[in-house]
Amino acid sequence: MAESVATGPKGMFLEVWQGRLKASVKVAGEGPPLVYVHAAAGLRWDDFLGGLARHFTVYAPELPGTGDSDPHDIYQVESLWDVVLIMGDVLDALGLSGVPLVGHSFGGMLAAEMAAHWPERFSKLVLISPIGLWREDRPVTNWMAVPLQDMPRLMFRDLSSPAVQRLLAMPQDQEQLVMAQAKFVWALGCSGKFVWPIPDKGLKKRLHRVRAPTLLVWGRDDAVVPVEYAQDFASYIRGAKVEVVDGAGHVPQLEKLDQVLPRVLQFLQG
């Protein structure tokens, strides 16, 4: 059984991008450093991150404009190229190099871009259902065009998992609920700035540069990025391993936390 999260992360702000941004970074855990890049809807400190934090010090930067950063910071970021370099600024400010990098969905694409741009910088790469490629025969679902109430069914094959239920729990306090909902939508808008209308910004031309040992984790029933994309990613990244998770959708690390967390830890610590 998954254990519940022991403690929440600490927040810190780093002045980067010539002082135009105060980047928000969440930190938790003990052990060697690890960098986590969140998905399109913003950072949520979920049970998967809680699990990683029992073995690593997890640094999770927030995309400018999302989470605890200033919502207007998104206007300082003009392109995907800017996003990659801002992440570089953040890692520089944290003094992180030679560290493992984990990313989910939008964050998987971003992690792949970072690992392709700085092949020496990351010791391991874990991409969980990353976006970033495009197949005519199996197009990626436009998650921004899905009514909010349909979002859980799109994201999760298995809604029953306790980790998923904890993620979907909404604040009881009315004002907190308003802000949580607004931040959720705003985060989709911020990340959408770099992938709308088609989440293919040329990553396939750059993926061959990734040199970190790579693990790809995919839910077999992913309704956002179909599982066929796992082989496409693997074909571009030398030696990449693919882990397909039965009974899981787009968020296998929560839907099947008990399988995915040990597998990821084994890969990172192996």
Binding site: P71, L188, G192, K193
Partner: protein, 410 residues
């Protein structure tokens, strides 16, 4: 008051169960199942004829606008229509109101400067230059602009267009979204320094500020009547006053659906099905297309969520019928007396100087549209024109040559 006829150019013959069978009237309605190109050719021609008829009947202006991939109103380039209208109305004191080319998706935006200048030249200086932000359906879904960039692109396009019209020297444009090495458009507009600019909006504070700061006419295009609009319009006027601007009613444009017949009962008989067609079918827009994340800025988003979320409308259009739409003021309908009384009250309450009336609605056939225009022009218009005369304002947002008697141009 200046009164212009607005036309959307909808598909007039959607199936009876359209809103049950199809997901949305906008973005994804299947052309091959629903539409017929021969009929559409007829609709475009009727639309032009109806607007020219309005011009000849004495309306002050005729309006077209830009939308894509829908059965609600599909003039993908309103300037093609505007061009035909400009030529056909030469010699008449009527403004060609383009409401208009969507700024963030016209590439490069000097295309708007050029096409509007052409229309101003063809019409002899009768152009009103509408500068819309564009709907999320058109800009984000049909034309692929990231929602988060739409407003920034709008501002840059606006600045570029105005500079392209007014700069005396050729210049280079080094923008965030557009770079042009040598900007020197031919032609430039007849109207100097540039044609009057109208900014359509849907109630966001940023657009009120933009219009007020630039001294443009802010146009609230609402289908939900003047009672529902009162809050938005009051907010706009409060903003205008805060900025120390005058309360010239011509700073505000407003769109109103209007149907006129001999009596109130006759109006219901003739127009009910077309009004219901409009609200049930033409406004059958999938909510996810209307509210993509990033389209509203942060402040508006928080405001919306706090007020109870997305979807915007508190009314369920499908459950409403003609009488509901009339009672709510969505449509001003009835005999000439009824219509003119309500329009006068509406104009006074909202402080509207530039009124736009939608005289073709939904599935309305051509002959009935001509009747509506005719009755409106003869029996209503003369009774509402003088509304602001006692206050003595000048309509700075109207083509100069149409403000005072001028020799006709050809």
């Amino acid at each position: 008051m200046q009164v212009s006829m607005f036309h959307l150019m909808p598909y007039r013959d959607l199936p009876k169960d359209f809103e049950q069978r199809y997901h949305s009237v906008w973005v994804d309605p299947p052309w091959w199942e629903l539409a017929d190109a021969d009929k559409v050719g007829q609709y475009y021609n009727w639309t032009l004829d109806e607007l020219v008829y309005a011009a000849r009947s004495g309306l002050d202006g005729i309006c077209t606008n830009e939308h894509h991939q829908n059965a609600y109103g599909f003039m993908p380039n309103p300037n093609l229509m505007g061009s035909a209208l400009a030529k056909a109305t030469n010699g008449l004191d009527v403004a060609v109101v383009q409401m208009g080319s969507t700024l963030p998706t016209t590439n490069p935006p000097i295309r708007v400067a050029e096409e509007y200048a052409m229309l101003d030249c063809i019409s002899g200086g009768r152009l009103v230059a509408g500068m819309p932000l564009g709907s999320p359906m058109d800009v984000n879904y049909c034309y692929g602009v990231p929602p988060m960039e739409q407003r920034e692109r709008y501002r840059e396009a606006h600045d570029l267009i105005v500079k392209a019209w007014t700069a005396k020297e050729m210049f280079a444009w080094n923008g965030k979204y557009w770079q042009l090495p040598m900007v020197n458009p031919w032609p430039r507009p007849i109207q100097q320094p540039h044609p009057p600019i109208w900014v359509p909006g849907s109630g966001s504070i940023t657009t009120w500020d933009f219009a007020a700061d630039h001294d443009y006419c802010y146009c609230f295009l609402s289908y939900f009547g003047w009672q529902m609009a009162q809050g938005v319009v009051d907010g706009y006027w409060a903003r205008v006053q805060e900025k120390g601007k005058d309360m010239n009613p011509y700073r505000l444009g407003f769109l109103q659906l209007v149907v006129v017949s001999e009596t109130d009962a006759r109006a219901e008989e003739e127009y009910a099905e077309h009004v219901e067609y409009f609200y049930h079918k033409c406004l059958h827009i999938a909510p996810e297309f209307a509210f993509p994340p990033g389209h509203h800025d942060w402040e508006s988003l928080v405001h919306m969520v706090r007020r109870g979320g997305f979807g915007g409308l508190s009314m369920n259009l499908r459950e409403m019928g003609y009488r509901d739409f009339v009672n709510q003021g969505c449509v001003i309908a009835g005999s000439p007396e009824t219509v003119r009384d309500q329009l006068r009250e509406m104009a006074k309450r909202l402080r509207v100087g530039n009124l736009m009336v939608l005289l073709h609605i939904g599935s309305m056939p051509h002959e009935l549209t001509l009747k509506n225009i005719d009755l409106f022009a003869r029996e209503v218009l003369p009774h509402i024109r003088d509304i602001w005369d006692d206050e003595g304002w000048e309509n700075h947002w109207w083509p100069q040559r149409l403000r005072k008697p001028q020799p006709a141009t050809r």
